[in-house]
Assembly symmetry: C2
Homo-oligomer: 698 residues x 2
């Protein structure tokens, strides 16, 4: 019996169990929830939408869903391995594949046939093929009387043994996923694809129409889609589970589902942690990000080629600043914060009055987390400004130095990212042929070292090791000039040569990274022992108590693992008016003309030229109430029949507070409408053959 | 020398004087200001926009501008007396001209030629032909040592003498306008037109596209325009001063001017008055309005005909509620309120430290106004719920009873609205043949009496006189059944029969109004003696002090008299994105399809059918920074060449606080684009001939 069918059986059991035990959960609001596939909100769906998912339907969606390991989601949309995701998920690859002569970001990419499809340098995608509850195994390996630090070690050791055994046994990528802040542990096994080829990507001006001003807003008019094809052994993979295309796409009020990989939420964080985020963490983040943004723009101004190279970084930082500003503003809302505090107070009160051993156990946890959070806060400048991996090549050097040391240890004693199960993916990144630019690396390394010196002072251990009393500019210059690590072969040679090769290397960046290594390790040890072990252990206690109080009637915080959210297509109130659920190509031209076609509201030449050919009333973007967050980018939206109706690419500004809480009135997922994708492929891009493959012959 | 050329000379002097004496005014923000035509911001315009208006240009704009006396503005746009205004300014007339069989509100109105143009029942428009500063005359008539009450009498007496003399001399409608809260008095003479004929009005679904949700918001897609033609002696009037149509309409960033009749602002109100508005006045208004709205909807639900009759009232109350909510929310903004308080504190401090007699004189005025405001507030339920004119016909009855008594007095002893200069316009309204509906009148009279009884109690003097111990329902029923005042002839007969006829009348509503009359007069006397005389006199002192401090470098509060505002076409930031300055027909169809054509986002059938014929990229609506307020509806927007580029129909939600202060970042005037009007006339409505008259042959 293959592990896949094993997993299926398991999942089926879990869903049935969930259906029987589901309890009322006072905190759920509206269509809230990023549900794990073993614990879908079956009762809620039945009560609210009269819909009960079949196990086959659930499995099909899971197996058609794809994780982009760089951060994003996608789905199979043809039996010939075609994967649909966002342009902005593909952007990193497009950037890497572009050259000064051929800029796929600016001009788009359109393969006319299989031969025209080109290989991505370092793109890995995963499909979740099995899920197994290993909570009991992880718990059994932990001595509840041991110190938190020892418990943390024991837990990590057991997790590493579980993943190693699974990898050995199945050959599949195997991760143990911590859910409910340690309330549960699951072994997720993934089928892994690394031969990904680019099939089609619109021009960035069409994909990211409206640019930074329109990012995280709605109404929108973005053709934010891209197609890859999965290959194995030089041929397109035959896919059993792919999503059939809907004829008309999503309709107003229709029940829809999003499957994808939300990256991170902090909805179970304690109030102390949220206060830290609000008062120190997020403001510091925004300060650092604003400085970084200024650096990126400064670099981009150096010339056309520098501008081209900077596009994805600038997109990334603008995106992050807007997202975190949304989160921050959400937390600043006193009403929201009070409601989070009320929920915590209610749980703490129940815990305090409980006679149950597990529940009582969490009594002191909130205060302990508060103390650890304060401690972490006291060193926030160090954790922020010690720039061990300020630039790509410096980061690779540090990784190589640690790599050779870690892999020499027994598997369960290593840093997590160097354990056997992770090594293959890590090497894939380490040996990526994606271009790096020495002048760019030097520019940002210098800037990071200047920041460290200014913020931490010359006596900081990192600063001493990194600068040795020299000027940041000189250090950066010498390091970049003195390294051969831009060359993949040089990196490979060092890794293959192991500790000896690294110890003897006179590569400037390797020498430098060896100097930094003890500082890095001491800081990480402090963080793991003093902070992480407390927040994990006490979070674990709170999670257990929460289970005891509420049952498993809710969903865990996002962990960049597969989730399903449900919701409906719906407009919303904003600024005293009603935002329509759909936009159309009419709206795209309206916005362009309304802004006199000034950037970022100008039209890509192909889009402008296609006006007469397009069916202008075709829907382009739409909004749904689904609960999503970063990482869900590229997720498919399917209807109750499991048909592809939309492509998630954003959340509206009111959804950003979703990191901490779901706003049931105005949270909206923003998606490209399936009809708009096909219409653009046919009428704008002349990609009718690909459209036929996805949606059937016209 | 005709009064017109007199006025022109005067104006020329005033403008030149202004150019010489203009001083820095700390309170002006952005393109703030509703300027009188004698005191345009010449220096500001030159400094900011490099534009200096010629006197001829100024006079031409003034004489092409039209006031709709029911509340609204407009402009001449052809030499044959064509006046362009908003559909919602025309709405009252459209409603009055419609019948159950022919509903011009729903279906629109389109005269194919002069013969098809139909007369409005009671529409008066005015053109400001001269302006004369009479401050010195008014001041001279007031004994500064007399009591406030006597000063008020003296002032009103002199004003009435001035207007009477002017009417007698020129035959023109003559009003004395109080500016700067009594800082200046001006005699405005108007050419008056009463034979107005309807030429064209789109269907309300096109004119008021997006309905209440979109009201006061932007982006918008409303064809909110209507054409009237002015007749005299049965023929279209030949007009010298009309606005030439712009070929391309307003462009992004272009300097533009609005001429029109802003109804009312309270920007010179004291903080005590604003606190009263914020804490008592506006909340009470919103409570009453919400109840009224519920009544209108209840009546409209009685049947299709009742629904038809209610359209303009429902539009009016929804509009008022949204507007006042905007004002109220603006005042609730602590930052804004603090800035208003700071400005007042600064002026009070200067006044307190001044040795100048006029300035010192205002020292106690703020406190006196505060006391009077408090006193008014204490009786706010009476002034709100004593329903002397709860319905149309009851209001007419009360007016007739007062009319015959007042006109028997010497002109300067009468209530203002019965003085000779106002009588013609008053009679025009009193004898309007516009339909009234007995069942509708009874419905709302009953409701008003119920409210009065509930809020004031049975012992209130008004309630005792109005109900005499009976049930509101019975009183309303008997009054409506027992009146003949629905008939114009009956009203005329009473007015012509004078005091005797009214005293002997057994018409139920006249008998009732006679009973209410002493209560009305006592309440009005209290208000005029105790409140108005204080706020006017002290406001006058503050205004004088303000003049002494700032000079005449600013503009007076709006008074429903002709003003000019300047600004530019400009988008703005909202909800983290950029609102485009223009919308197009593309956007109209986008919004309709986006909302699945559900009301209020459905398309009028003609508009839907015209899609293939329309140039979809034609601009429909746009926004400018001009400072406007209710009453400006229908105002022309002209470019520096004086050409017609747009038609004001709204302000965005951020402009509503404009009653108290101008928001220089986001205040926007919302207008129909001149190109959109012409395109709609030609491609949607088949009104090419009229379009030719306005914009020239295509």
């Amino acid at each position: 019996m293959s592990p896949i069918s094993n997993a299926r059986k398991h999942t089926a059991r879990a869903v049935m169990a969930a259906a029987l035990t589901v309890a009322a959960t006072p905190q759920l609001r509206g269509d809230e929830g990023m549900w794990t596939f073993d614990n879908l909100p079956v009762k809620l769906l039945k009560d609210r939408y009269g819909f009960t998912p079949e196990q086959e339907w659930v499995d099909h969606l899971r197996l058609a869903s794809v994780r982009f390991n760089d951060g994003g989601s996608g789905a199979f949309v043809s039996k010939n391995g075609l994967v649909l995701t966002n342009h902005h998920v593909a952007l990193g690859q497009l950037q890497k594949m572009s050259t000064p002569k051929k800029d796929y970001v600016k001009e788009g990419f359109f393969a006319k046939d299989l031969k025209g499809e080109i290989a991505c340098p370092d793109l890995e995608v995963n499909v979740l093929v099995s899920m197994e509850d290993v909570t009991a195994r992880v718990r059994a390996a932990v001595d509840p009387k041991a110190s938190d630090k020892d418990q943390n070690e024991q837990r990590k050791g057991e997790i590493s043994r579980i993943t190693k055994a699974s990898t050995d046994e199945t050959g599949l990528r195997s991760d143990v996923v911590e859910l409910y802040q340690g309330g549960e542990y699951w072994l997720y096994r993934y089928k892994k694809y690394t031969d990904m080829r680019l099939v089609m990507a619109p021009e960035i001006q069409a994909a990211f129409y409206g640019g930074d001003p329109d990012n995280f807003t709605y109404p929108r008019f973005a053709l934010d889609f891209a197609f890859f094809r999965v290959y194995e052994n030089g041929k397109p993979v035959k896919i059993e589970h792919y999503l059939k295309w809907s004829k008309d796409g999503a309709a107003d009020g229709e029940l829809v589902f999003v499957t994808g990989h939300p990256g991170r939420t902090d909805r179970l964080d304690t109030v102390a942690q949220l206060e830290y985020a609000r008062d120190l963490g997020l403001p510091l983040y925004l300060k650092v990000a604003a400085a970084k943004r200024a650096d990126y723009y400064a670099y981009a101004k150096l010339g056309a080629e520098q501008e081209r190279r900077s596009k994805d970084r600038i997109f990334g930082i603008e995106n992050a600043i807007k997202a975190v500003t949304g989160e921050y503003e959400g937390l600043l809302d006193p009403k929201l914060f009070a409601s989070l505090k009320d929920a915590e107070d209610a749980l703490r009160q129940t815990v305090a009055g409980s006679s149950d051993e597990t529940t009582k156990n969490a009594k002191a946890s909130w205060d302990k987390i508060a103390a650890a959070t304060k401690k972490a806060g006291d060193r926030r400048l160090q954790t922020t400004y010690r720039a061990y991996a300020a630039t790509k090549v410096a980061g690779l050097a540090g990784t190589i130095v640690r790599y050779v040391a870690e892999v020499a240890k027994p598997n369960d004693k290593r840093y997590e990212e160097f354990r056997d199960s992770a090594l293959e993916s890590l090497k894939f990144r380490l040996f990526s042929p994606a271009p790096m630019y020495p002048d760019m690396e030097e520019f940002f390394l210098k800037r990071a070292l200047e920041d460290a010196l200014r913020e931490l002072g010359p006596d900081d251990e990192f600063v001493r090791a990194a600068l040795g009393g020299a000027e940041p500019a000189k250090v950066a210059k010498d390091l970049i000039a003195g390294t051969k690590l831009f060359d993949v072969a040089a990196r490979k040679k060092l890794v293959e040569g192991g500790e000896k090769a690294v110890a003897e290397s006179d590569d400037a960046l390797i020498v430098w990274s060896r100097k930094l290594d003890p500082v890095y390790r001491a800081q990480r040890k402090w963080y793991e022992d003093e902070i992480e072990s407390v927040t994990v252990a006490e979070g674990n206690r709170i999670a257990k108590a929460r289970f005891a109080v509420y049952g498993k009637s809710t969903y865990p915080d996002a962990t960049f693992t597969l989730r399903m959210s449900y919701g409906k297509v719906a407009g919303y109130e904003q600024g005293t008016t009603l935002v329509a659920p759909f936009t159309t190509f009419h709206g795209l031209y309206d916005r362009a003309i309304g802004h006199s076609e000034k950037p970022p509201f100008d039209l890509a030449p192909r889009v402008k030229a296609a006006k007469a050919k397009l069916k202008l009333g075709t829907k382009v973007n739409f909004v749904t109430t689904n609960d999503i967050i970063g990482g869900n980018s590229g997720s498919p939206i399917v209807n109750a029949k499991g048909e592809y109706v939309g492509l998630v690419f954003d959340g509206n500004i009111q959804s950003l507070v979703g990191r901490y809480a779901y706003d049931d009135a105005r949270n909206r997922t923003v998606a490209v409408h399936s009809s708009g994708i096909i219409e653009a492929m046919r009428a704008v891009y002349g990609m009718g053959k690909l459209a036929d493959e996805v949606a059937g012959r016209k």
